[in-house]
Symmetry: C2
């Protein structure tokens, strides 16, 4: 694996392959030793024909070349990023709009931060998308652990051109020890932020029929749309709105009828037709920092019938996911994944601190009460309560001792049949976690600027912090009214069964048993 050290000169890079290849080499070799790799600056971007020259770069890298102009790795990476941006292949998607579509519970990891990656969860996403579970045709990867500590090298936001379905692409770099952590500059991707100026409406039959327009909820119109000139008869304006792909849509916004109401008329049906919206689908509007209106689409679950790709069999997809991770883990080279928040049953890239806290910071046991957040109909959050009824491996043969969905649970409310009866430790809130780590979400949003060591210190601070804080503002960013005002005493009462109070009070600083 180790190759001759020395400066590298890269001349021929395909426009498309270039960045991935170079990053790949950068990271896979950087880790092995701390040599500073030097690249030649004046990349020659050229398109090679026919795919027949796949080995060229490889060859050049192996043979090495001259150096003129020394740059640090960081500078080189910035250059690469510029290449990427100027290539114009894809415009970046508005982050707030993406998050609005993703829903209030979805946060993406920061570039440079550490995460746990769960192949099992990734495989589940494939299973949902292809409608086929992993079968026994899929080989075991004995060297692939059930979780992989990775550093996040890249996160890009995407939306399907056809359906507007949102997803994220991430490049993950498996790590073996803290020495592997590399300070990655923030290339400008902002932390996950959920927009505050936001509304979401599930479309009615009238909204989607050809008979009329769109009935705008009064609050939404008053909060988001530019103020109408009510001296007009009737008050009217033209709204120009952009979607995820930066297409513009113009709607006539009018305030009329008896009683008066806000409507979108001209232009609306074109939009509905183009996006193929049906009653039950939802549209959402947000206002960005420049006060421009953006809109997104969330399709009803029924439409996510997950057309099986005609490209790859479901088996090959499962294998692809596992083999890619296994190869990356063995070589400590980065690999690329897609994360589909709305299709995926639960996130399989978990922030480092969130995982550690849940696994080492809490004593979970059968009978314990917990709470867990779910998204409501209209894109709000709601907490459901339940009890842990078992702790066991989800798949003891393939993934023994995995924490992935190792908690069997029962929900308090009936009619939670559609909810998972297995959850992962980091998904739930327990009395302990609430006391010790009052404000999980806001902590996690802080970027891990100084890398692994910093994180470790921070983590230990949290764990060993001797005092107990009462949680505040766990409602998150959404301005929506929710049940979260019953936080503090009332919630904690719900969480604590009498027999557990004792246990709660005797909670002791937890030892980190991994090292």
């Amino acid at each position: 694996m180790r190759e001759a050290h020395g400066p590298i000169r890269i001349r021929h890079v395909t426009h498309r392959m270039g960045i991935a290849v170079m990053l790949n080499r950068l990271f896979s070799r950087r880790i092995l030793d701390s040599v500073r790799w030097v690249f030649h600056k004046d990349y020659v971007i050229s398109q090679v024909g026919e795919g027949g020259h796949m080995g060229c770069l490889e060859e050049k890298v192996k043979t090495g070349g001259l150096v003129s102009g020394a740059h640090t790795l960081l500078e080189e990476m910035k250059l690469l990023k510029e290449m990427q941006d100027h290539s114009g292949v894809r415009k970046s998607i508005n982050s707030e709009l993406w998050h609005a579509c993703a829903g209030p519970l979805v946060t993406l990891p920061q570039v440079g931060s550490l995460v746990y990656y769960f192949p099992q969860g990734h495989s589940e996403q494939v299973a949902v998308s292809t409608n086929r579970m992993a079968t026994s045709q899929i080989p075991n990867y004995p060297n692939l652990p059930s979780q992989l500590v990775c550093q996040v090298h890249n996160v890009t936001l995407h939306a399907d051109k056809e359906t507007d379905e949102i997803y994220a692409q991430m490049s993950l770099q498996p790590l073996n020890s803290e020495k592997d952590v590399f300070p990655i500059p923030d290339f400008g991707l902002k932390p996950s932020r959920h927009p505050s100026e936001f509304f979401c409406k599930t479309l009615t039959a009238s909204d989607t029929s050809t008979h009329g327009g769109f009935s705008v909820p009064r609050r939404a119109a008053e909060k988001l749309f530019p103020q109408l000139d009510y001296s007009m008869q009737p008050p009217t304006q033209e709204l120009v709105v952009r979607d995820l792909h930066d297409n513009t849509w113009t709607f006539r916004h009018i305030y009329r009828g008896q009683p008066k109401r806000h409507l979108l008329t001209t232009g609306w049906s074109t939009f509905v037709g183009a996006k193929r919206l049906r009653a039950g689908d939802a549209v959402l509007f947000i206002r960005d920092e420049k006060s421009q209106l953006l809109l997104g689409v969330r399709r009803a679950n029924r439409q996510q019938t997950a057309l099986p790709s005609s490209v790859l069999s479901a088996d090959s997809m499962h294998i692809g996911v596992l083999a890619a991770a296994a190869h990356a883990a063995a070589n400590r080279s980065p690999f690329t994944i897609f994360y589909n928040p709305r299709a995926c049953p639960s996130e399989f890239v978990v922030p480092f601190a969130k995982y550690r806290k849940s696994v080492y910071g809490t004593q979970l046991s059968v009978g314990m009460r917990f709470g867990m957040m779910f998204e409501t109909e209209e894109s709000g959050k709601r907490r459901y309560m339940g009890t842990i009824v078992g702790i066991s491996d989800l798949d003891p043969l393939r993934w023994p001792c995995s924490k992935w969905r190792n908690l069997q649970v029962e929900w308090d409310e009936t009619g939670c049949g559609e909810k998972q009866n297995r959850v992962s430790p980091w998904e739930i809130e327990t009395p302990e976690s609430l006391f010790i780590f009052p404000s999980l979400t806001s902590s996690l949003k802080r970027p891990l600027q100084s890398g692994f060591l910093g994180a470790q210190t921070e983590w230990e601070n949290w764990v060993k912090r001797p005092f107990i804080r009462i949680p505040e503002n766990l409602n998150g960013d959404l301005p929506y009214p929710s049940t979260s005002n019953l936080w503090s005493e009332q919630l904690i009462k719900m969480l604590i069964k009498p027999q557990n109070v004792n246990h709660l009070l005797t909670v002791s600083p937890v030892q980190d048993s991994t090292r």
Copy 2:
């Protein structure tokens, strides 16, 4: 790998997983020794919940169980097939319609026959579909040869629900030697047959506009549609036609205008809208054995812009393809692939005899003239002529000594810029192959009924056959007029450059150097 032998009792099989799992186990273990596996007949089909019991079958198989009722493997496989058919998950697609959509040059291998599988070609299909070549992030699979002899275990025809794009799913079983060949009963899938009652028309602007209907070419209407009652004023009838998904469409067929012509009016625009057809796309009609009308769609190339899947990164897809094949090859277990004839640059599952003949039966050299079939605009065949200008590895690093596209060629006609400048030996016709193997297509259609040994014998017969036949009827099944009447002398003159005549006449029986 080897596990305890003995009868197996299977009780819990998910409706979906069951067949794949069982076939997997059947084949992966059958090869290792010739024990006859016995299954219990009264399968209990039950749906397991949540995917949490993936290991159940595995466990049961390992521990073994009681036996009541002994069946041969063949009988069990028939039973499995019945289960599959009665499951009603998907109706089988009409084979002739599928082949009509696939085009005249596409043939699928017979179930039970032997083929060469080329991972390189499969990877190319992925590259085309995802618009991304394989990058260096993709590991090498040193144990995966560039071609794999496989037995075909299953072939099913499919069509994308959204686009009607056709593709085939095949299950391939890698073989090590002829002893591995297993007589597989023909479960009723007919050999590839291209329909004779067929027409195909590229849609004009008028055909797809909202202004009118569809103008039916006279010959097509007279050959395919039920005869009109020309005593009516005007002659009219209602056509009921089925598409690939077995949806029915009704069109009003009328013969009117001045001059008189055949038109489809009422119902046509609904069809165009539903399939989202545009000028340049093609529709095709066939009449099946019951004289029922069927219709299919072929989209213009421009529309095959291959939307990148939001499920899996292109890298993971490439890895998935290679890892699946590598794993199957190592374990001699079956694996599943999708073959997209119209997206794919060339077929990567090549009939055994076709490959052997081209590689061992012909002396290819630089400067040699050859012919190669291409599909014409209107779904006919046409031969293009060219010259071999080089023989070299397409990808010497990853796939050294592969025959895949190892011929560099130049085409006689200018304006063949879009044609590949590399082809594989089995794709071309050379003077030798024409003399020795006059009627390639019809030979290949004969199923390899007696397996490997039979094939081998047949193959040797062909190779050693001492006489020369003049090729006849290479036009194929299509009733279309084509250039193929210039077969025999004229073609052979085209193929032979003067300096090659000598070579041609001295062609000697070729030794099979592989064993």
